[in-house]
Symmetry: C2
Subunit: 454 residues, 2 copies
């Protein structure tokens, strides 16, 4: 058969990568739990009609659909034939596919809440760390299967939730050593007020789409785009003034107050952002009125976390407040706020900044060398005692040349080699060699556990 | 839109279930790591030709295939049309689907080893805990998405690997409290010797298929089946003698020696099983010559773990030695041995025997009640201090009636409620109510951490 390969855009994770990913996800989950969030897991598959129409036309195309079972089965050809023809006529695809792989964690979460809203205790504080699938064109840093990591509070309008999420970002990133990460916040209410000032709320989408590109294309091009989107010079000049607000958080709040506090929505937005800024114990928080975030379902505070400036990575997380999680599933009145962590990008940032602690990559602590049949059975029983006390160890599987055993230990990055030959067996000690330093010690059997437990 | 629902055979896991599953998987992974096994993760999707033809005709039908991206896209109708026709002609389905969801962990593991055999350090000790998908008819205890949990050593013929895997089973099940679980072992070599004695090795499959049903249909029906499978009375009488071997492990070994040790394969099998039985520190190990296991790729020792007899659950794990992991992918000469844990069944067994420790189900330790705006901001800062010290807690999101807050805490099974009103704020203490006992204590702010850390 053909050489085995992986589907485009997917990856195997060998031990070193799994361990580093587990380290990141462990740190994140630990903070989530400490903040009283509960885990939720939903299946990889959802019904197709749960997903379709939720991510825009482009998104729909990127959903991986699952072929109905039996569609390729010769016995079902007759049935399938009808199915295919229907598809070709463009009437229905349900004979071909009724299920799909989840595209994000938000819609499955909404589906879960809608299905169980009578049983769930609100506010529902949930976190979810699972893979999602997108039929995007694979490229560097973009995969077809990747992990999303979301945390949301739904069923509550309290701004303290936003404050908590600012603190969650802070604790996670500090824990991971990303001391200089940036947390940018803005409010869609402030953007709405800006739109009101510039031709009415209907201009909101045009304005946010243009502002969203500021980082990439610069102010002049944003102004050009606004012109193309039929804003006039006076309006664009207000937006320019808005985009040029700079200074400390306090200074920015002063300037935005002058510009937008006379509009009701603006006043509300400024109050909210001030409250969050004051209550959050997050020294990396920056109010940034140029933050827009493309997704139109955000209605209040929006967040974006960025990698430390020395790494060219950009966003490593984002989120915001939305009015209505489950309206699409006919359960209205469940507002919420949530953030997510870009796990793959955080991984790359920690790698680049060499922030993974060495102990994360440690596997087996010690290897017993195999010095013959009798010796290896003896080593085996010593090993079981160490394992019983929580020390991870293994025994080389067969009696072979010592350099082969050393080479195995080195390749597997095992730190200690334990050698028990017939002489050592008789005299109740072993040789323990530290493969990092090359130092060798004589250790009595009865002291072996203490040696590793020191 | 229609009421949201889950695809048949799939499940959402809410917090209590996730926590219990995490407890089981944590115990298993912990033992794996202690035994020097390394984690591996492979993608949910594999190329269709990696999976097809590996699980027999029935298995192929149960593989979930993924529709090629864009196949439903109007722009691709012309292209798709050709694809559909080809499928209908039965020539090729590759225009319709080229990827599928993984059906087990063994084939993706083999594919990974075949792709990376030049880089991997052998013996490769890997464990893998991931979901798999099967388009089986859903029924009680059988799901279309479920977790498999495999551990294998490949690239080694040493019997010590089998011994270690016996010990892994033992440590995991004892850790989980399944004191009376049973570990049955047999050897395909012994079964082969039996076949040799009864009409030749070609009868091996007939004999194992029949023996495999012994538990379900009983000895008489097995004999009937053997007759149908064209074994004669004399042969069936040998098999009956074989199946009636009973007694202690030592007694069984004596009887099997009389029956089969004169055949070379039988002698080898008996030696191996004796070695494993003697070296494994597993008091729950039972030699059971009626164990057959259906899968034909097993060539040496076979394992089956069973739930304690008081639970009607049967197998909770199984495995065995195979000669050739990657031959199907044109990389010959990689033998191995592996076992798996039936996570969903272990879950049901622990549930039935009430073996989940209560602390597994604990979420948030304490909730600060919301006694008004000023009080809640104060409580918030107290809460952040506790969280900073690793105590999981939350603050009720809004000022509302106290009974509503109690009800929320109870529903979420939060053990302690912390009440800080204006009087308490002034006098530097809080009321801590234990919702399990109903007892209320006055705790000074400076002693609050100690209260939870006691």
């Amino acid at each position: 058969m053909a050489k085995p390969s992986l589907p485009q855009g997917t990856r195997d994770f060998a031990a070193d990568v799994v361990r580093k990913r587990t380290y990141i996800l462990g740190a994140i989950k630990n903070i989530f739990e400490r903040y009283g969030f509960e885990p939720l897991e939903t299946p990889a598959m959802e019904n197709l009609d749960t997903l379709m129409g939720k991510y825009g036309e482009e998104g729909d195309k990127l959903i991986f659909k699952i072929l109905n079972n039996g569609i390729n089965d010769p016995k079902n050809i007759e049935k399938s034939k009808a199915g295919f023809e229907k598809v070709l006529e463009g009437k229905s695809s349900s004979d071909l596919t009724e299920r799909a792989l989840k595209y994000d964690l938000t819609i499955p979460f909404a589906r879960h809440v809608a299905m169980n809203h009578g049983k769930i205790t609100f506010p529902y504080r949930r976190y979810q760390v699972q893979p999602v699938w997108r039929a995007d064109r694979p490229q560097k840093g973009r995969y077809r299967e990747f992990t999303q990591c979301d945390v949301d509070v739904v069923g509550s309008n309290a701004l303290l939730n936003e404050v908590e999420l600012c603190n969650v970002y802070h604790e996670v990133f500090i824990q991971l050593g990303l001391i200089n990460y940036e947390l940018k916040i803005n409010s869609r209410k402030i953007l709405t007020a800006l739109a009101t000032l510039c031709g009415g709320a209907s201009k909101l989408i045009d304005i946010t789409i243009a502002i969203d590109k500021l980082d990439k294309i610069g102010l002049d091009k944003v102004k050009e785009e606004l012109l193309q989107r039929e804003l006039n010079e006076a309006q664009i000049s207000i937006i320019e003034k808005y985009l040029l607000i700079t200074g400390t958080n306090e200074e920015k709040l002063e300037q935005i107050t002058l510009l937008l506090a006379h509009i009701e929505t603006g006043k509300k937005g400024i109050e909210e952002i001030t409250y969050i800024y004051k209550q959050a114990s997050n020294t990396n928080l920056q109010i940034d009125f140029t933050l827009a975030r493309g997704l139109n379902y955000y209605t209040g505070i929006i967040f974006e976390a960025k990698a430390p400036a020395e790494v060219k990575m950009g966003s490593i997380g984002g989120g915001g407040r939305y009015d209505d999680l489950t309206g699409l599933f006919d359960v209205p009145g469940i507002p919420g706020v949530g953030i997510s962590f870009g796990v793959d990008r955080i991984y790359d940032v920690l790698e680049e900044l060499k922030l993974f602690p060495t102990e994360v990559q440690a596997g087996t602590t010690a290897i017993f060398f195999n010095m013959g049949e009798k010796e290896s059975l003896f080593a085996f029983s010593m090993m079981q005692q160490l394992r019983g006390k929580g020390i991870s160890c293994e025994l080389y599987h067969e009696f072979s040349k010592i350099h082969k055993q050393f080479s195995y230990a080195e390749k597997k990055k095992i730190r200690y080699a334990i050698i028990i030959g017939s002489k050592e067996m008789e005299q109740n000690y072993c040789l323990v060699k530290d493969l990092n330093t090359g130092l060798q010690e004589v250790v009595l059997f009865e002291k072996l556990f203490d040696f590793f437990n020191k």
